[in-house]
């Protein structure tokens, strides 16, 4: 398909069906009323709006849906899902697209979200609970900003709000849960 003034778009006609299978939402219900885009708190930061994302998914415009930074500015604030007159859970659709991008390892700038998610899930798998110090430290290290928010971190430690050592709960059960889930997904 070609939009005036733009290069040819790649079309994947199975895209909408893949979204439906992953999250149960039917993107064809969207009639482009723009209510989701108008209430979205991070729309000014996005390359395209949530409404446009729905259109890309309807048309199977896979690169526009997957490679723009739109989904990576979604905060899962649920405003769009709460307001959609067609009762589409747009935030759930966004999650489905995010998961496809991460699973297929599509090269896009996720604003460190992919790294953040991976660190979080790994800590969880072995510790059962979140270890904020470890998470923040590793995130800053791996994203090349080792001193980000350091003064604030020190203040929080002084106030006893960040624990230096992790709390570990049910590590073996958690590892088994993660591996059973992985097997199911295969």
């Amino acid at each position: 398909m070609k939009i005036a003034g733009q290069k040819e778009s790649k079309i994947d006609p199975t895209l909408a069906e893949e979204i439906r299978q992953r999250c149960g939402e039917n993107v064809f219900l969207c009639y482009q009323c723009k209510k989701c885009a108008s209430g979205c708190p991070t729309r000014p930061f996005m390359e395209s709006t949530p409404t446009e994302l729905m259109r890309y998914l309807q048309l199977g415009m896979i690169d526009e849906a997957m490679k723009k930074d739109t989904i990576w500015y979604c905060l899962s604030c649920q405003t769009c899902s709460a307001r959609c007159p067609q009762n589409i859970d747009i935030a759930h659709v966004v999650d489905a697209v995010k998961i496809i991008v991460q699973e297929k390892n599509i090269k896009v700038d996720t604003g460190n979200a992919k790294l953040f998610n991976r660190l979080w899930m790994t800590l969880l798998k072995y510790m059962g609970r979140m270890y904020e110090m470890g998470l923040t430290g590793m995130l800053n290290l791996f994203s090349g900003k080792p001193f980000k928010d350091l003064p604030l971190g020190i203040k929080l430690i002084k106030k006893g709000k960040l624990k230096l050592l992790p709390t570990i709960k049910r590590p073996f059960e958690m590892m088994k849960m993660f591996s059973r889930a992985r097997d199911l997904k295969k």
Binding site: D89, G111, W120, M121, L124, M130, E132, L139
Partner: protein, 290 residues
């Protein structure tokens, strides 16, 4: 009244004062909280944006633990994100295929008859503003409060079963029962940027800046919250916001349970007021509340 208690990771770290004040207030109100033993993280936002199955299995695991350990029918979750993940899991687990998968992952039966309540719901629905009023020993009539709900206490309605999700008022009723004045404002359900607290700080500064500006514009002295992530963002980023926007915000951010505790005569230390980054103790002294 006896409820299972799921504090979640934040209440054991950055939201320690929410945990402390919740426990103290419940004690005063005769609510017994039975913490789920060795609960695990609900997965929060990272789980639902990278692993759909685990994002449902983790909350289900905690509900199964609650049922096995205490047999209680209700779980109180003070963190808006934990609350939302538990409620989302319940909504999705009405699908039999997914339920079977999740039961296989957690190797336990998923109890489908548990009621999940946010701490605000526990107080407003199960106790009521009138009963709270009877416990007030020190009226908070010297402060003006902006009640901030954020996203997940009220949204999405298919999960929270709330009709008033655009303009909730139960926190106002509660805060007014403490003698304080509440304000009418625009940003009570606007997102604070929680999910980006560590990754896209510039977005957080932008969004929290808007929230603080609106509270300031309508003359609120303090903001009351019911979520540890909202608290961190609003409480810790004010200096950065001032630097960026050239403003002069210095608005103390309290958990609604801390305000309740103060009015009920619980000491500020016990409520963890000293743990805030935006100075709250001197403000309360100034208003003769401590």
């Amino acid at each position: 009244m006896k409820l299972s208690y799921y504090p979640g990771c934040s209440l054991h770290s950055t939201g320690a004062e929410y945990d402390a004040s919740t426990r103290k207030v419940c004690e005063k109100l005769g609510i017994e909280l039975v913490e789920i033993e060795d609960w695990v993280c609900c997965g929060s936002t990272p789980a639902h944006q990278c692993d759909e199955l685990m994002s449902i299995a983790l909350p289900a695991k905690n509900m199964a633990l609650a049922r096995e350990q205490s047999g209680l029918g209700e779980i109180c979750a003070p963190c808006a994100s934990c609350y939302s993940r538990l409620k989302f899991a319940q909504e999705r687990l009405t699908d039999d295929h997914l339920r079977r998968q999740v039961e296989h992952v957690i190797d336990a039966r998923y109890p489908d008859d548990i009621k999940v309540l946010h701490m605000l719901e526990v107080i407003s629905e199960k106790v009521g503003a009138d009963a709270v009023k009877e416990k007030v020993v020190k009226t908070l009539d010297s402060i003006k409060v902006a009640c901030y709900y954020g996203c997940l206490i009220t949204r999405p309605p298919k999960v929270t079963a709330r009709e008033d999700f655009e303009n909730p008022t139960d926190m106002e009723a509660l805060i007014e029962a403490l003698g304080a004045e509440t304000v009418d404002w625009n940003m009570k359900t606007f997102c604070c940027g929680a999910a980006f607290a560590l990754t896209r700080t510039e977005v957080v500064v932008d969004l929290t800046g808007k929230i603080l500006a609106d509270a300031h514009a309508v003359g609120a002295d303090v903001i009351a919250v019911g979520c540890p992530l909202c608290h961190v963002n609003l409480d810790t980023r004010q200096q950065q916001i001032n630097e960026k926007l050239g403003t002069n915000f210095n608005i103390p951010i309290f958990y609604f349970t801390q305000l309740m505790g103060l009015a009920m005569g619980i000491g500020p230390k016990d409520l963890g007021i000293h743990k805030h980054i935006t100075e709250a103790e001197s403000f309360l002294k100034e208003r003769a509340l401590i």
